[in-house]
Amino acid sequence: MLKNDNTKKKVILQSLLVAALITAIIAVYFLYSSSKAEYDSVNKSAIAMGTIVTAKTYGENTGPENEIIINSVKQLDELISWRQEGSLVDRLNKTNFVNSSSLADIVNVCNKVSKDSGGAFDLTVGSLSNLWAIGTENEKLPNDDEIANALKKVGYKSLKVNGAEVSCKKGQFIDLGAVGKGYACDMIKTYLEDSELKGAVVSVGGSILAYGKRNKAGDKWRIAVRDPRDEKSYIGTVKINEGFVSTSGDYEKYFEKDGKRYHHLLDPRTGYPAQNGLISVTVVCDSGILSDALSTACFVLGKEKGAELAEKYGAGAIFIDENKNITTVGDVDFERASK
């Protein structure tokens, strides 16, 4: 078969076109892959604030930042834990007065949630919590009188803030346990913004802070939500760009008596663990202390009123009921896990 010059040129041109096409496809694919490749990261865990703190930092040569993050949680704990002698909350509980702008800020935010939730969330619920003592060796099912007595000391309206001065009624017991982890996350976020990190995801006892990006493509952070009835698996994943995620569930601390579960999310209005069919509420928002407070408030309020509260704060929420039905409220990118 004779091939003249023209045909030869055609073949060469065609081959070049094909080669160019293949190269273009490969180049595009490489760019895509490299934008999806995660930045280098360092992951560290430690015990702080009575729970597990995990910090994963993304960027070049990270590592020192993780230590700093974990230490800051330890320091915060010394400041706001009612268990720490001399802490701000300890002094408030013992002398009913303390001067601290940080504590004042925290109380202001919490009291607003208390007001908006009609008292379903209340920092002064401490007297009630101490009575039930769930999660300690003294846990018990109190009788009606004991509950009535404790309820007399519960009431956020008596927890007053005047500038930096925080005061409460005699006998009241303030416990920041419900919001301490979220507040720690807020603090950590300020630190992260000042750092050189490209991204970070921090978990303070299950309260999550997601900051920055984990790869060039800026893919969302994937926060798994624990299955309320199976601690080894997760029920779904929430995807967020940046923000805070908190969960309140009836599985964290509880005891069972006569076939009934008494969990630690007490309703400050009734004195008993909230019983409204929910077993877990996850809140996503742009403030750590709010995501903590709202998750507790929404759990106590139940699905309908809880959804209203979340909407009011512009937060996203995920309600899981005892049949594992899931309802989402607000702008939440949540995907249920397939089993």
């Binding site: 293949i22 490969i26 694919y29 892959s33 997601a210 984990r214 939500v225």
Partner: protein, 118 residues
């Protein structure tokens, strides 16, 4: 070679390159995942292994060391699994199909979530 042949070859070549693209990004924190009957029964971070040890999974004996994982012995008939030798790179896979044991090496980052809220 005809036009159709060339087209098929080109398509396959491009597909190959795409599939291999991910291997060019070396994996860190390699984890050996062991599946039995489709269920993940063990996931071991290779770099955390100090001394080599053996694991028994449905009729297969696997040896794990910080250099990789391999089949030591198996109750299957063809013993193809043992012929694989040591697995040590991200994305590598081997299996003992009659015993339904599959081993694959993943990069530590291949979990599909970044944190757990609880």
């Amino acid at each position: 070679m005809k036009k159709g042949d060339a087209l098929i070859i080109v398509l396959c070549a491009v597909l190959c390159l795409c599939l291999f693209a991910s291997s060019f990004f070396p994996g860190k924190n390699l984890i050996a995942e062991i599946y039995s009957d489709g269920v993940l029964v063990a996931a071991k971070a290779l770099s955390e292994i100090e001394e080599e040890y053996t694991l028994s999974v449905s009729g297969c004996e696997l040896e794990l060391s910080k250099n990789g994982i391999s089949f030591l012995s198996s109750t299957c008939k063809d013993k193809l699994c043992i012929k694989y030798g040591v697995l040590s790179k991200k994305g590598e896979t081997m299996a003992c199909i009659p015993n339904r044991v599959v081993v694959s090496i993943k990069s530590g980052k291949d979990k599909n979530f970044d944190a757990v809220a609880y």
